[in-house]
Structures are given as C-alpha cells and as structure tokens.
C-alpha cells in the first residue's frame, strides 16, 4: 500500500472521470434517462471502431467524432422507434443498443487483422497502464500521462457545459413543457446532453471501458439521490462520491490485484447498497424509519 506518483495519477484520472460522468448522470437521472445513458455507452462502439479503422490510431479525433455521431444516432434511433414505430420505450432502448453493440463487435472482428483494438480493452479498459502511456511533444518534452490530460479536458468541458447551460438543463429536466413554453429548445438541450454523454464515454473508454462508464454515469448519482433531492447538493455529493470511489477503488484493486475500473464500480456499488439500506423504507416493525407511515387525512 504505497502512495507514489503513479498511484496519484491513477486516482486523479479515475476521480476526474467519475466526477464528469457523475455530473452528466445527475441530469440523466432527473430525466429518467439512466438507461439511455447505458444504451449510449454500448452504442458508441461501432463509432470507435470505424474511427479507429479510418485513422489507424486509438487516440485520434476521428474516434471521438465517430463515437459522438453514433451516440447521437442511438438517441435518435431510440426516439424514432418510440415515436415513429410506436415501440415501447424499454424495448426501443434494448433493440437499439444491442444492434449497435453487435455491429461494433462484428466490425472489431472484421478489421481484426488491421486494427489492434482489443474488444476486452474497449469493454472494460485498463487504467493501470496509464502511467506508461505518456504524452511526449515532438520536441521531446514529457508532459505526463496522455489519459490524464484527456480526462482533465473532459472534466473541464463537462463542468463548463453544465455551468453554461445550468438553467436550461435544470429547467428541461424538471418541467419540459414549461421550458418549451418560455422558449428553451428542449430537444436541442437534450441532444447536447446526449452528445456530452457520448463524448465522455469515448474519452473514458480507454481507461475505464465503455461498459463501466455507465456505472459511473448511474450509480453515484443514484446513491446521492437517496440522500438529497435538491440539485446543488446532489451534484456536490456526486462529486464527493466520485473522489472516494477512485481512492478506495484503486487501493482495493491494488490489494487483490484486479481491475481498477471494475473495483471502482464495486466500491460505488457498496456505497449504493449501504445508502439504500439506510435510507430505504423498511417494512413496519423492522426498522421503524418508515417515511410512508399511513396518513390520517383522508
């Protein structure tokens, strides 16, 4: 159990990713769109593969653009299935993400001879290799791990996005009709949020993997939501949880020698279940903290 530069960098990166995801996740949670976030994180896979194939590198702009486009495409497809084809929402989500994810896996296998893209790496990433992967400028100056810079940029963009569009995001989350009535383009705000989710997914997939991004999108906000209902405390608590998850996840994974990203999720899960146990309504007679005690006003 040591604390050195590598540990610090990994924890910093993990915390940055967890906070970016958590902030976006709060708004997904309030819009009851957590499963859409899940769907996007699966659906960006073909975009990543195509971008990779076109540019030949995992760290190119094409990958981010491809994933962003696929993320938007998946929200549009879910919407089209629901509104145009009248398929119920849960089935639209299920059909969309499984199809796009399947295409992604097929593409990986088709291009396997050309593209060094490991499907396991895409799915659950490996944050532990981060200190080896350095960003070195053409003149030879070592600027530190590339992934940390990416996570920092992502964090900066996500907080900037939420800071600038805070009013629009909260209004459209709580009362879509009212926000449309006072002239906020609810659909546009929604698409912008979904693009941010896709961008965050793709920028984090190398380190925590496309599927584990969804855990960081959903679990810390849900945990925080069990404790508070107001928006600002919700965001603060989510950020705090993100930092805790990164620290504990790193050391526990180090201890049993396993996947750091997976352990971060397991820690998040532990927080989630403990919160649910404490804040959940126990049946009368066991806990006695039931908030839904029968009212006598009827």
């Amino acid at each position: 159990m040591t604390f050195d530069t590598n540990a610090f960098l990994i924890i910093l990166t993990g915390a940055l990713i967890a906070i970016s995801c958590g902030f976006l996740g709060v708004f997904l949670l309030l819009r009851k769109m957590s499963m859409t976030g899940d769907a996007i994180s699966h659906a960006v896979l073909p975009g990543i593969v195509i971008g990779f194939f076109v540019s030949g590198s995992q760290r190119s702009l094409e990958v981010i653009i491809g994933a962003g486009l696929l993320g938007i495409l998946s929200t549009l497809m879910i919407d089209a299935l629901r509104k145009k084809a009248k398929v119920q929402l849960d089935a639209s989500i299920g059909i969309t993400f499984t199809l796009l994810f399947a295409i992604g896996i097929i593409l990986i296998n088709l291009f396997a001879y050309k593209v060094d893209l490991d499907q396991e790496c895409v799915l659950y990433g490996e944050i532990a290799y981060l200190p080896i992967d350095l960003w070195i400028t053409p003149s030879g100056i070592n600027l530190g791990p590339r992934v940390t810079w990416l996570a920092g940029l992502n964090f900066f963009l996500v907080t900037g996005f939420i800071y600038l569009l805070f009013k629009e995001l909260s209004l459209t989350s709580f009362d879509e009709h009212f926000s449309s009535a006072i002239g906020i383009p609810a659909k546009g705000v929604n698409l912008a949020l979904m693009s941010m989710v896709s961008y965050t997914t793709v920028s984090s997939f190398e380190s925590v993997g496309a599927i584990l991004v969804v855990a960081l999108l959903v679990v810390p906000p849900s945990t925080a939501y069990l404790w508070t209902k107001s928006l600002i405390p919700l965001l603060r608590l989510t950020a705090g949880l993100g930092i805790l998850i990164a620290i504990l996840g790193y050391y526990l994974a180090y201890w049993i020698d396993s996947s750091i990203a997976g352990m971060m999720v397991a820690v998040a899960g532990a927080f989630f279940f403990c919160s649910a146990l404490i804040k959940g309504n126990w049946p009368l007679g066991i806990g006695g903290t039931s908030k839904s005690s029968p009212a006598f006003d009827s």
């Binding site: 084809a85 119920q88 997976g262």
Partner: protein, 430 residues
C-alpha cells in the same frame, strides 16, 4: 455454397447439436422475453444478463474448472440476487425503475469484471473459456453441455405452457387475477425464476451483453404482426430460431467470428423489417393511412366550402376565394381540386369553381353530417351551441352511413342545426 450445403444438410453431427441447442434456447428466451416485453419490464432481462457474470466466476472458482453445472448454478444465484435487489429497491426507495436497473446492471457487471480479472491474473489455463460468456460462442457448446441447456429450455417451455393462463393474467391484469384468487406474487416469482433460467442458458450462445436482444427483440418484432398471445409467442419463437440458425451459420463460415453479434444483427433486421413493413401497424402502413385520411379531410373541406357558397346563392367560387379560406393548406387544396375535377364532382370554368350535380349530393352529405352531429351534441350532450362546431369538424369525416341513419332516427329528422342553419337532404330543393 459448399459451406452452405455442408451446414444445412447437417452432415456434421456437431452442427446438428449446435443448431438444436440454439433452437431450444432461442424458443425458451423468446417465450419468456415476450412475456416480459408485454409486462413492460423488458430491461430487467438486460440487468439480469449482466448480473450473472459474478455468479459465473464464483461457479468457476468453486468447481476449479469450467463445469457447466456449477456455472449455471452460480449464474442463477447471482441473477436471482439481482432480481431480488431490484424489486426490493423499487419498493423501498424513491429511485425510479430505470435508474435501479441501470445501477444493478453496472454494479454486478463491475464486480464480475473484478472477479474475472483476478481469475485471469491467477494464471489458471481453464480461464480462457470464461471469456466466451461475455460474447457468447454457440459453436463452442459441447455435446455434454447441450443436455443441460436443452433440458432447462424444455423445462422453461413446459412451465410456460402449463401456466399460460396465470402468466397471461400477470401480464395483462394482475389486479383482476388477485381479485379472483390467484396467488399473483407466487406467479411472478415463478416467472422471475424462468426469466433468470432463460438468461443463464442463453448467454452460452450470445453472451451477457447482447442477451437482452434475445429476450426483447423477437417479442417486439412479432408484436407488429399479431394482437393475439399465442400467435405472438409462436412468431417470436420462429424469429428467434431463424436468426439463431443464420447467426450460427455465419460464425461457422467466417473464422474467428463470434455467434452472438450475428444473431443479434439478424434479429434486429427482422425487427426493423417488421416495424417498417408490417401491414397491421408498420410505419409505411400508418403513413399511408394518415395521408389518405388527411387527403379526405382536405377534400371534404373543399366540398363543404363549395356547398356553402351555393347555399348563399353565390353559385361558384374563384380560386382566390377558396385559397383564402385555407391559407395554410394551399398545396393540399389544389391537389384535391384537381382530383375532384377529374372525378367529375367539381366543374371549373371561367367564372370559377362549382359543384357538379354528382358533387352536390356528396357535399350535401358532409354538411348534413356536420350539422346532425352539432344537433346531437346540443340536444343529447347538453353542449352549448357555440361549442359544438369543433367536434363536428372532426366527426364529419368519420361518421358512417349506418351512424348517419341512427342519428337521423334518434334526432327525429331535424330541419335546423343549433346555429339555425338548414340541414340539407336530398329531397330538399336548394
């Protein structure tokens, strides 16, 4: 082509086994999935299929090798835990269903990844097989495993068919079922057990991530072809088998290609075709129906305007006058005008547009329906005369001759509508 013949003539006994296996588990998951689709709980299956991963690892650790019995048991137990937790959270916290499902799914999957990575680093050579659970590998199903998976599939089918009535109640009207004395909680429990079993055996072929497709997509696609439960189940099973066999074929022909993704692609293709082309409620069908209804309303409005012009003894209307009445639908009105002229219902000459004698009786009917409906609303529904017009604007396109006769009879052939306008009839001289 040779591959095709080799595959579909089942010369190779292992192909026969694989096809049999994928058929059985396809039917099982399509049946269970269709019920959970109708129950609007389609994504619970997705959560369960991600959640079995820790159980698979646990089963592996306990058995020390890839023993299907241990793995199925472990997977079942962790799937059951996930199901229990999600229903507990649903009842006892304020979280919404989708965030519960997304949380359970990702937490269990994360724990599974931790266990899988730890096992991989432990250096056991048998571990390589465990990866196939993530993406599925139908070709890799051994003959011995098949009896276990096939038997479980058959058990699922048997229970579902025996308790068809009970599950039907659970999906469509659990309140009624409870009222007439069915143990709805027990029925839901059995159903959840079946769902978890279907997931556990399905992931062999298709993998944990894509299992949701095998549950959701066949039912969603079949729903576009029928409204009845039994044909729905059969059709869903058929779609599932078809894409299962096609997917297996592709992964047999193309080396290094996993089965699961191809099964999902074929299933989704079937679903998309159903959504677009279904003659019952497909996108094209509904588009055409909507177009023809809109055309009818524009046509009806035009005829009505011409009839009213004649009522005030104006005879014919100029094109400008007509367009001024419908400033937002010029194109549609011009189109209907063309159509009506071709059908001989409307005459266009130098003075303008007017109804032909054939068109007059048609237009008269529309105006009559409109005014009859206004009388009906006013007299039978006690709606004030200044509120009846809007509803009549819609009903004039919909009332059938039978309803018209009934209205006439009920209202005793009224002469005037609530706005004191004459209700035109054939015998009536204009």
């Amino acid at each position: 082509m040779e591959d095709f013949l080799y595959f579909f003539t089942f010369q190779d006994p292992s192909i026969t086994w694989v096809v049999m296996g994928i058929t059985l588990l396809g039917i099982g998951s399509a049946y269970v999935g269709t019920f959970s689709f109708l129950d609007k709980k389609a994504l619970l299956g997705d959560a369960i299929s991600h959640a079995v991963l820790p159980g698979i690892c646990l089963g592996f650790v306990l058995a020390g090798e890839k023993d299907p019995r241990y793995i199925v048991t472990g997977a079942f137990l962790s799937g059951a835990l996930a199901t229990f937790l999600s229903s507990w959270l649903k009842q006892n916290t304020k979280l919404s269903e989708d965030s519960i499902i997304a949380s359970i799914l990702s937490i269990f999957f994360g724990i599974g990844i931790v266990a899988l990575t730890a096992l991989q680093k432990s250096g056991n050579p048998e571990i390589a097989g465990l990866n196939s659970f993530i993406f599925g590998n139908a070709i890799g199903i051994a003959e011995a495993d098949l009896f276990l998976y096939g038997g479980l599939s058959l058990a699922i089918l048997l229970v579902l068919s025996l308790f068809l009535k009970e599950f039907r109640l659970m999906v469509f009207d659990p309140g009624f079922g409870k009222a007439i004395g069915f143990p709805m909680k027990g029925i839901r429990f059995i159903f959840n057990v079946l769902l978890i079993l279907a997931v556990v055996i399905g992931i062999q072929a298709i993998g944990v991530v894509l299992m949701a497709a095998l549950l959701i997509t066949p039912g969603a696609a079949a729903r576009f072809w029928t409204d009845r439960l039994q044909p729905l189940l059969l059709l869903a099973a058929f779609f599932s088998i078809l894409s299962g066999i096609l997917g297996t074929y592709v992964s047999f022909v193309v080396p290094q290609m996993p089965t699961g993704p191809w099964v999902v692609v074929f299933l989704s293709l079937i679903a998309l075709i159903s959504f677009i082309f279904s003659p019952k409620s497909g996108i094209i069908k509904r588009f055409i129906a909507r177009r023809s209804y809109l055309n009818k309303t524009h046509r009806d409005h035009l005829m009505k305007a011409l009839f009213k012009a004649r009522e005030v003894n104006q005879g014919s209307m100029t094109l400008e006058e007509i367009y001024a009445l419908y400033p937002f639908h010029k194109k549609e009105i011009a189109h209907s005008l063309q159509l009506l002229t071709r059908q001989g219902l409307v005459i266009q000459d130098s003075q303008g547009v007017q109804l032909s004698s054939l068109g007059t009786s048609d237009a008269m009917r529309i105006v009559r329906l409109h005014r009859l409906w206004e009388v009906y609303l006013n007299e039978f529904m006690n709606i004030a005369p200044d509120h009846v017009h809007e509803s009549a604007e819609q009903m004039e396109h919909l009332l059938t001759p039978e309803l018209e006769a009934l209205l006439e009879q009920r209202l005793n052939y009224p002469a005037l509508d609530p706005h004191q306008e004459t209700i035109p009839r054939e015998s009536h001289d204009l």
